[in-house]
Amino acid sequence: MVVPNALSDRNLSFPTGLITGIVLAIPGYFIGVWTGNLFGLFDDQNTGVILGYAFAVIGFLVGLGFLNYPLARLLGWPVTAVPQTVEERTWGRYFSLSLDHKVIGMQYLVTILIMLLFGAIGAMLIRTSLLVPDASITPPGQYIMLIGLHSVMMIFITSAVILGPFGNYLVPLMIGARRMAFPRLEALSFWVVPPAAVILAAAVFWGGFPTGWTGYPPLSEQAGQGMDSYIVGFVLIAIALVTSGINMLATIIAMRAPGMTWTRLPMFVWGIFATAILGLLAAPVLATALVQLAMDRTTNTTFFVAANGGSNYLWENLFWFFGHPEVYIFILPAFGIIMELVPHFARKPLWGYRTGVVGLFGVTLLSWFVWQHHLFMSGIAPVLRPFYMLSTELISIPTGIIFLVTLGTMWRARIWFSVPMLFCMGFLFNFLIGGISGVYLSDVPTDVTLHGSYFSMAHFHYTIVGGEIFAMMAACYYWLPKMTGKMLSPLIGRIHFWWMFIAFNSTFFPLFLLGILDMPRRVSVYAANLQFLNDWVTVSAYLLFGSMLLFAGNLVYSLFFVPGIAVANPWHARSLEWQVPTPVPAGNFDRVPLIVGGPYDYGLPNAKPAADTFFFAAWWFSFFYLRALNNDQAWRPQGVGPPSLGFGLVVLALVVLMAGTYWVMSRALYGSFSFSLLAPVSLVFGIAACLFQGFGMWHLGFGLTQGGYASVFAGLTGAWLIQLLGAVAWLATVVVQGRPSGDTVVRPHSAATFGWILVFLAAVGVINYLLLYLVK
């Protein structure tokens, strides 16, 4: 079977690629700004900036060529699969939309490393500013911009640093698949990342944003246009997480080779699997929170404004409900890497394989359940604190299992301390400290002193940098020989490891002490007696940066100045990815047969609706939360109420009819008369529903600033309407493709899957109606 790099015989008449993308992004931005200023309610330009960024990204993606395939399918152009031959392995393919997961992995790797460089420079500037106890080196405005940019850039990076490059490159190889389940989605998940980074960097032009990565309102509502970079950038990363999650789950579930049962899956793949679940379900909640923030900033809703029926706790809860699984998205791939590499270098089977998997899933499960430990001091109901304390402390049990499994594998082994293994050992040490410090923070009495101080900074830098980045380094040294065909120099590698390990601990361990000694985080001034420690940290940070430069040097040297290609299996490992030759051929395997036909049609049960459920659930949570927090007058002042009940019922009926007729149609015989009749009928219902709902929203009868109910009504109905519009547009393509005369390319299976989506939207509509019209 050939690798799909489907090209249409008839193309859009301009060449697509990175240059086109950039060329289209620029007018996209200006169109967005113009549109925003046209419709924006105030002269504070936020709508313009947000729409500008959004249109720029759309223009970029269109220019790259994402629209080619859907357009071709929509308009019925014949689609042919073009095999990718060895001769096509040029540099150019890294700068264009490629459907080869290996290319996407390399694209991710280079992009992330460049972003890492910028994030690290930001960190150096921050530390330089902290050389003196006052704000003389960097004025407060610049300092706050630096910490915002550094932190958010690093969050973008660490969300994807292992999942992106190594997950994409290796998962199909490790499970014996020839490609990923949804290559286009995977390409999308990559190509939103450079725009996200650029948009984030663009915040500099607006003076940055003042909230750090947590974006707490009302400060984030007070902020200038730089905040919009934060919003749009984070939405893009959320999209990347969701699409990547869908893809990884579908690939791992559906595309394993025969004989690759679940209990033979490499631990790295298990780690990616767990990460994908978290990413898929947590990111939509962030999307809700960001949409609400954007609405507050543009249309003056009051989601987070306490004076008008909103609450800043809503943001805190939504954000951290995402935020805590997010940090496990950081570390679960790292756990996977450690448990993957150590057996190969210890030359022993993984000790306690099943327990290791249970550990990973224990972490995954419990991570949903601990988020309020970020809010211990925020003023949440006191009786909740013991429960979150308990659940957070319980997470240390599955985390401990990872250590158990690794140490057990090393027991009485014949360990080869190669450079990747050294980084694994470094991980164990660093994450031990990071994890233990987490227990300190989870204990509410001690959290009183430690929350929001340098102690928590030290905790998350130990876990993320000392944990995830060290694991990433191990992954680089281990897998780059396969991915690039070049072995990184072991000598430089060893120097790199020891330099980095010592500099890292020297940089971040004193931060624990600083936190205990009354230094809050995100400050540019501190008590004079802490200067020695801060200076020590800064100098160590410079050294740490130096070690990263050494790594970069190793990369450049080994990739470009060392001749020859690495052997196919330099580590003599037994896992599947090492059994293919280097460089890896386009189809990965010649002899392993594919296990399922047509994974596109599989439509992983409820993957998309699952993510969407969380998106809407976050809105429903907002409804109940704000309603409960406010008295009636603040929640729904006089004159604010749902448009007439009958009106809402009409819209609901139309949507249900749309979903119902489609459902019946999809069950009908393909190509039969009822099939061709019901599709347009369903479309008519859908269009009518959209029109009615749009009309209703245009004539709401109350202002969005009037209380929390108004805000939630607008946001929830608006989000639902947008998704409905998307569904109706898709439905239109189904109708067009299904016309009797045309060359139909609708596959029955995907038509049925789409039916589920319509039913889902109808169900959401019912719940929305109940909440907004009846419960009020």
Binding site: W262, R354, L365, V383, A573
Partner: protein
């Protein structure tokens, strides 16, 4: 405060006649069958040895939850009432299922009763509808939906307050919790003579999804900013806590300790699924894939 109810004096315990009767009858049936059918020498192998213990612990839990001063406190404190329900659904029901006493209980009935009873239940045409209904109820999907819906229903304020006022309804509530709990756990825990209909992996998903819906309810109660139930009308609660605090304690207890059984069963099902996967893997030729285990 203690108006005559004391832990040390069983005569003051608020014993419910029906509950006591039920527990006693079950115990007698069980003992009767065990005395007539000798247990295997050595007490059986592996898991089998623990079955009687599970059974007695399960019965004891029911008794403890419903007939000791716990019941008295449950009338005053929401969180104790919650603990009661959790003992029924999360401790007693799974223990009883793990004990799989069904054959013993059945055989505890005298033969003269069993034969006609069985004949009627299985063959009588008038009961055909009931039989079909029963077959429908014991399917996994129905069991999940019923036990979850039951859980949510009784937490609806109107229903909950009704149980506080009406004794019969209260018994019905406890009975439903216990029976539907048994029905739920029966889908995932092996118990003779019923064969599990769910594949090992589906069992994992089954328990997982049930856990999530229970958490949703607990979260709803935990985040509420006003008390939902009639406990708020009580002038005074032991410990002097407010009704809202009481509710939040209850929610927390439902959330964390209430998840213990779910977690244990989840992990057990996970390991069983791994075992099944390993068995499946070994049926493939190892040469086809060269993965280190």
């Amino acid at each position: 405060m203690a108006t005559g109810v004391s832990w040390l004096n069983p005569l003051t315990w608020p014993i419910e006649p029906w509950v006591l009767l039920g527990v006693e009858v079950t115990a007698i049936l069980y003992l009767r069958s065990r005395s007539r059918i000798p247990s295997p020498a050595g007490g059986g192998s592996g898991w089998g040895r623990w079955r009687p213990l599970c059974f007695w612990l399960g019965l004891a839990t029911i008794f403890f939850a419903l007939d000791t001063p716990v019941e008295w406190y449950a009338r005053q404190l929401f969180w104790v009432h919650m603990t009661q329900h959790l003992l029924l659904i999360m401790v007693a029901a799974p223990l009883l299922v793990a004990a799989s006493p069904w054959m013993q209980l059945w055989r505890g009935l005298p033969l003269g009763v069993r034969r006609p009873l069985a004949r009627v239940a299985i063959k009588h045409p008038a009961l055909a509808v009931l039989r079909r209904l029963f077959a429908l109820i014991v399917t996994p999907t129905a069991a999940w939906i019923l036990s979850s819906a039951n859980l949510w229903f009784w937490h609806w304020p109107a229903a909950y307050d009704l149980t506080l006022r009406n004794h019969t309804i209260h018994h019905l509530e406890h009975g439903l919790f216990l029976c539907l709990g048994i029905l739920f756990w029966a889908q995932v825990i092996d118990q003779h003579p019923f064969r599990l209909r769910l594949s090992p992996f589906k069992r994992v998903a089954y328990v997982f999804t049930a856990t999530i819906q229970a958490w949703a309810l607990a979260a709803l109660l935990a985040f509420a900013t006003s008390p939902f139930y009639a406990y708020a009308l009580l002038p005074f609660r032991p410990g002097g806590i407010s009704a809202l605090t009481d509710q939040q304690y209850g929610a927390g207890i439902m959330w964390v300790p209430g998840s213990i059984t779910y977690s244990i069963v989840f992990i057990a099902c996970l390991y069983l699924w791994f075992g099944a996967e390993d068995a499946r893997a070994n049926s493939f030729t190892p040469r086809q894939v060269g993965v280190a285990k």
